[in-house]
């Protein structure tokens, strides 16, 4: 809990701000994740584009096994989202898994975190399965080709830091702090005579 603050009192007792209570606010992260998934599915790479990419760049024999691997990714995506969701949501989750694992050979901390951030708690085996399946699917294609494909399709999702407001503004992290020199004015215990000592600026 935050310590008592002047501005807290002003918010509570004056009429100059909007009345709102944040202290007990409980936020449902499910809503945020669903919204994030929705935004993710709206732009960039789609499952159709991924399937198309494989059919374009692989010969018939390789295509068959790649499609099988992609089916495994879809299956894993179904476990990670919820069975109650429709095909679009599952495909979008599969796209996310593909993007996450296209250049990884195992499920690391970053990937685990990214999946949890997007979908909430999930079965690790599903992540493991999808990572392995993506890895096998992209193997015949070559790293740079897949990398280029994912980058070109996903670029609209990544914020351009070079155009962000404030990028050229220097910012200081300094903050008001207690002066460490303002030590207790006695050695060993309270002493009446030192009361009302100077400010020692």
């Amino acid at each position: 809990m935050s310590p008592p603050r002047l501005t807290g009192a002003l918010r509570s007792f004056s009429t100059v701000s909007k009345r709102e209570e944040f202290t007990e606010q409980v936020y449902d992260m499910k809503i945020k994740r669903l919204k994030r998934q929705e935004l993710f599915s709206r732009e960039g790479l789609t499952w159709q584009k991924i399937v198309q990419f494989f059919t374009q760049h692989l010969d018939k024999a390789e295509q068959q096994s790649a499609i099988q691997e992609l089916k495994s990714v879809l299956q894993a995506a179904k476990q990670i989202v919820d069975t109650e969701h429709g095909q679009d949501t599952i495909e979008s989750a599969a796209v996310f898994l593909f993007e996450t694992f296209h250049n990884k050979d195992h499920v690391g901390l970053e990937e685990t975190r990214a999946i949890k951030q997007m979908f909430g708690p999930f079965p690790f085996s599903a992540a493991d399965t999808s990572c392995a399946a993506v890895s096998r699917a992209v193997a015949p294609l070559g790293e740079s080709l897949v990398e280029e494909f994912v980058r070109s399709q996903s670029s609209c999702r990544i914020p351009q830091r070079s155009t962000a407001f404030g990028r050229n503004i220097s910012f200081s992290y300094d903050c008001y702090a207690l002066d460490p020199q303002e030590a207790l004015p006695w050695d060993g215990g309270p002493d009446e005579e030192t009361s009302g000592g100077g400010l020692d600026f």
Binding site: P3, T7, L10, P159, F165, G166, E182, G196, G198
Partner: protein, 417 residues
Amino acid sequence: MACALVPLDEQQVTEAAGPLGLGKERTLPALHPDRKEERCFVPYKPPPEDSSPAQVEEFLEYGRFIMEDLDWLLNLPHDKFWCQVVFDESLQKCLDSYLCHAPRGLDPSSLPSSPALSEMQRSIHRAVFMTFLRMATHKESKECFITPLVFGEIIYNNFLFDIPKILDLCVLFGKGNSQLLHKMIENIFTQQPCYYGDLDEAVPSILQVLDTILAKCGLQCEGGTATEPLKLDSRSRPSAMTMSQQNLVDLVLYLCDSCTTIQAFLDIFPEACTTFHCHGFLNRLASFYEVAVPDLEKAVRKRNFDDKSLQEDLWKRVCHSRRTMVETTHLMLQQSCLRPILEGSENIHTFVEELLQHFTTFLPEKRFLVDYDEQFPVADDVSLLQQAFPLIDETRTSYLLQGVADAWDSIGRRRPQ
């Protein structure tokens, strides 16, 4: 993107209707609720005090959401940014929650314990500041701007800024970004003078905070707004010596935060001094100091603390509060009286009279006067007055200086040479 060289509030945009951008095209104002993105900003939670892995992970998870969303927001073009700011309540709640709950440098546990937490906190801190900076800017470039009058209405009517938020901004970001903050606050008050009215309404509440601190110590000062007389029965009267240790800690934290916040705000935006002045803030602050400081000092020194580091911390906070109160007084005197005198203002005698009146009012507040004089010698100001206004009544200045000397004697302290 809307058309150039027309203020945003007058621009119209034509875009595809319907949620997926299918259907017919339609024309609507560039600032329109339909143009905001459903983003669901999450509220900020402060870094956990005990760093259990679950709590750390929860903080980082919230933090990543906030950073992702604020990065996205700061990347939006001017028109889209303002649609989001004006019409997305979740964004405002996210920003408000940061101002309310972000740790201040003076908070007991302000520093996150792990590098990951610290890094996340720093990133959010900067992004929140940049968002407020953008919200305080009505002209971003030659092409991207809002009519100043409309900008003033937008920020005021939608509570994008209010007095508590402005005070929070000062105390959170003011230490190292005072020039930028001054520009922001100056622009806000210039484009929307109603904020001066709000400040005028808020100052009595600030004074009430001082009275509340006194009341909790069972004290009262002259000019206070306490409506109930203090009970005569001393056993039932609260005091800094008898209240629970937690209450004393809270009270000292409250005092420290209040003094720092007021000083940060007036230091960054000295134009507000006049409004504080109109409410007799200086005299109330001096009386408050005189009554509250010795009482709290005594309690911190005399009470038995099992945790000596807590006692040490409280002492530092009382000292810090004393210093900021003295500095605030000097700042206000400088802004309201000394500056116009030194700048050779037209009604110089009025300001001279006012300054002398203030010092005279401080004479009975001996402890305050001595602490003030130690940091900002009254004799120096009197000397300045004599140079700027040779007609000054010498009997009066002598009386004043003698009063200061008597104050030093009466509290048994020796003046530094």
